[in-house]
Symmetry: C2
Subunit: 439 residues, 2 copies
């Protein structure tokens, strides 16, 4: 693993810079925007995540000598471009939606300004981070609302790439999960970590009882015992015998959860373990979590579905040039005009969320900037400006970075969710809960 993020990118970013340097167009001031054309899967809203990570990726986008040598050996770019790359660091400005914010089709989630060459190089890594992290956060937010206040832990590390797992744990926490099983997410991003035990631990020991005794001896009676390795009622009885009625929790990872949970609750209560919680973890997603809402479940563990975006593992955001200066320094708005739903809207956008008098979100309002004019579009009455400055002169604002930035994103997410109208929380597919309007 390397600290540099400079080659986590598509070859064409480098060859476009190479061609633009030769053509004399590489230094044209440009504006790129990141947006999603639609919300995947008929989702009612999307959640922006990855901002803190992508700002770090921008700061780490410096070419090492090894990377430069490889680009040279492979003849990917020519000598003048290699010289330019050797000194590369992004010096432009990044504004965008605060991490944790809600977004809708067309929302200008990120605005990247600088020369064409310095901005275009960042395309792939910015999109990789935003598309994955936002897909996870969007799925996670749906699970959280389906859980109706019960805690949900992210346990999906084994179901996604090993570094994506760290990002997923972070994104799920921003979207309201209570904890993760992923230790690196704890160390790197300050996400609270949790864990229970696996079937292997029970199977290692000569009896289930010995396994429970070993776990309670090491982790205390507050631990969570896994009760479905052999026979659930037998295991629940043993668990309470071993740990006493102060046993923290039992975990069920298989079977018909609704009936099992009811039976285990009754059995725990009959054994006097009325405060022992029940955690369920078997291939849950937002729909199965919702279906357990009338069961006496105390906590959920969600794995595969959240780290894979619950059917939509990439958020579908794109990075598009919307304006640039020409040789006379005049700004030109640009857009792809072609067929197939892939056209874009030229010009730099500013974004606002219009709220009702009682603070309920009503619309996503976009205004296109008149480049060169002094007056930037400003929020009107009952509008909240959605863009914040993320990096200036190429330097990320430290507020958004590291564990503190992650915590801030989680708080901002909760506040933004609280503005949404009730229809946002319908799990069924449909239209975005807010319209995106240009005005």
């Amino acid at each position: 693993m390397t600290d540099s993020t400079a080659l986590l990118t598509d070859r064409y970013e480098y060859t476009m810079v190479d061609a633009a340097i030769q053509a004399g167009t590489a230094e044209r001031q440009s504006v790129f925007e990141v947006f999603g054309r639609r919300l995947s899967g008929g989702r009612r809203y999307g959640v922006v995540a990855g901002t803190g990570r992508l700002l770090q990726a921008v700061a780490d986008f410096r070419l090492t000598d090894d990377e430069l040598s490889w680009l040279s050996d492979e003849h990917i770019v020519r000598r003048p471009t290699l010289d330019w790359l050797a000194d590369y660091r992004f010096t432009g400005r990044i504004t965008g939606y605060q991490e944790g914010e809600i977004y809708f089709p067309g929302s200008p989630i990120l605005v990247v300004e600088g020369t064409f060459a310095e901005c275009v190089l960042l395309e792939t890594v910015l999109l990789s981070v935003l598309n994955y992290d936002s897909a996870v956060a969007t799925a996670a937010a749906r699970v959280v609302s389906a859980a109706s206040g019960r805690p949900v832990a992210e346990m999906g590390s084994r179901r996604t790439g090993e570094w994506s797992a760290v990002a997923a744990a972070r994104a799920a926490w921003i979207a309201g999960f209570s904890a993760t099983s992923n230790l690196e997410a704890g160390r790197r991003w300050g996400v609270p970590t949790m864990g229970t035990a696996a079937h292997a631990f029970t199977l290692l020991h000569d009896t289930e009882e010995e396994a429970f005794r070993a776990q309670v001896a090491a982790l205390g009676t507050g631990t969570t015992l896994l009760v479905d390795t052999f026979d659930v009622p037998t295991a629940v009885r043993r668990a309470v015998e071993v740990a006493g009625p102060e046993l923290g929790a039992v975990r069920i990872d298989s079977g018909d959860l609704a009936s099992q949970v009811a039976e285990v609750r009754a059995q725990l209560d009959s054994l006097g373990a009325t405060k022992t919680r029940i955690t369920v973890t078997s291939d849950l997603d937002e729909y199965s979590v919702a279906s357990l809402s009338s069961s006496p479940v105390d906590a959920y563990g969600v794995g595969t579905s959240v780290v894979t975006g619950s059917g939509y593992p990439a958020a579908g955001m794109v990075y598009k040039l919307v304006a640039h200066q020409d040789d006379q320094g005049e700004w030109v708005s640009v857009a792809k005009k072609s067929s197939g739903g892939k056209s874009s809207v030229g010009g730099r956008k500013h974004a606002f969320r219009r709220l009702s008098d009682s603070g309920v979100a009503r619309a996503e309002v976009l205004r296109i900037e008149e480049h060169g004019s002094d007056s930037h579009p400003a929020p009107k009455h009952a509008e909240r400006a959605l863009h914040v400055t993320l990096a200036e002169g190429g330097v990320p604002d430290p507020r958004w970075l590291g564990p503190e930035g992650t915590k801030l994103a989680r708080e901002h997410h909760a506040a933004a969710m609280a503005e949404l109208p009730p229809d946002a929380f319908r799990l069924s597919g449909g239209d975005p809960v807010l319209p995106t309007v240009y005005k």
Copy 2:
């Protein structure tokens, strides 16, 4: 980014080790197996990928001082466990399917042997790598067969986590893709890289013609020009005017591909550019690639679908304890017995592919080892043994590592695919093309 992989794991792996050390069971010799209970999405076969990466992850699983301090500060494990972890390195044996091999439900893809503690710690990171890389390789193999010999390039880096993108490029190449857009995959794993240009490059220039001239000047007439930014017929005419009939290729990224491709081919031919190739890249998956089989497409670029496993982004493999020694040194086969389709089969398995006289694969044959006996199950007539030694004494066999190992995996994949019966290449959902039998 850190070189250590030790915290890319679930907290419970560490707390199970903690409890087992205290209980005196941590050093019991154990056998864990990785297998998939089913093939996702009614796929006819699965493709093993990630082996070369996971062996590197095992070698890099050493706790740094920072990691140990964090585990201590967070009170995740106790002092004796921290001392044990400070010296941790895996010393056991790993056997398994050669990377690129085909697998079926129940195939023992990886067999990890050592003490319980040293093996259980590896669970999460091994599964993260195998589940993601195999999901990508399985999707990629289907695209390759749908493309019927036409080259397919992987271009999905922006649609998955930034490090998963590197792994995906590698997995897709193993499964028969011809190249990737991802530069780090080129540098790290020796995957051939390729690229064209983005709409932004056309939009940056004052006219499409200027953009084409700039690209051809830098990259030569063999380059691929993107012709769908404005009007396709106009762009095709300009492209041939600028580059001449020796133009390498044009790329179409939107619209109704079947009709566009036919029109562009006719236009290119009428302009004398009969050797100019047509590359298409618009949200393709195995089904849309197959539907273009009668179109004069020369090459495909596939992004989102391949890096997200074409609807199945995790292969669903699990890591299960199947045998361990007891305090008397006797081997005990173990298995989870619970309900809900999550039971497992105890005992260490050996795997063979039964072939017909003409070399066509007929069955996945598994035999359970009598632990302690000297005779290991051996291949019978017309069977191919599927397990190879991947690591011995904790040290990965260098054959499987790096660019050379990746190339070997690609070659092995092609050979294993050539054994499959024709039904394997049906894209529709159905049963695995080979039965898995215990005998």
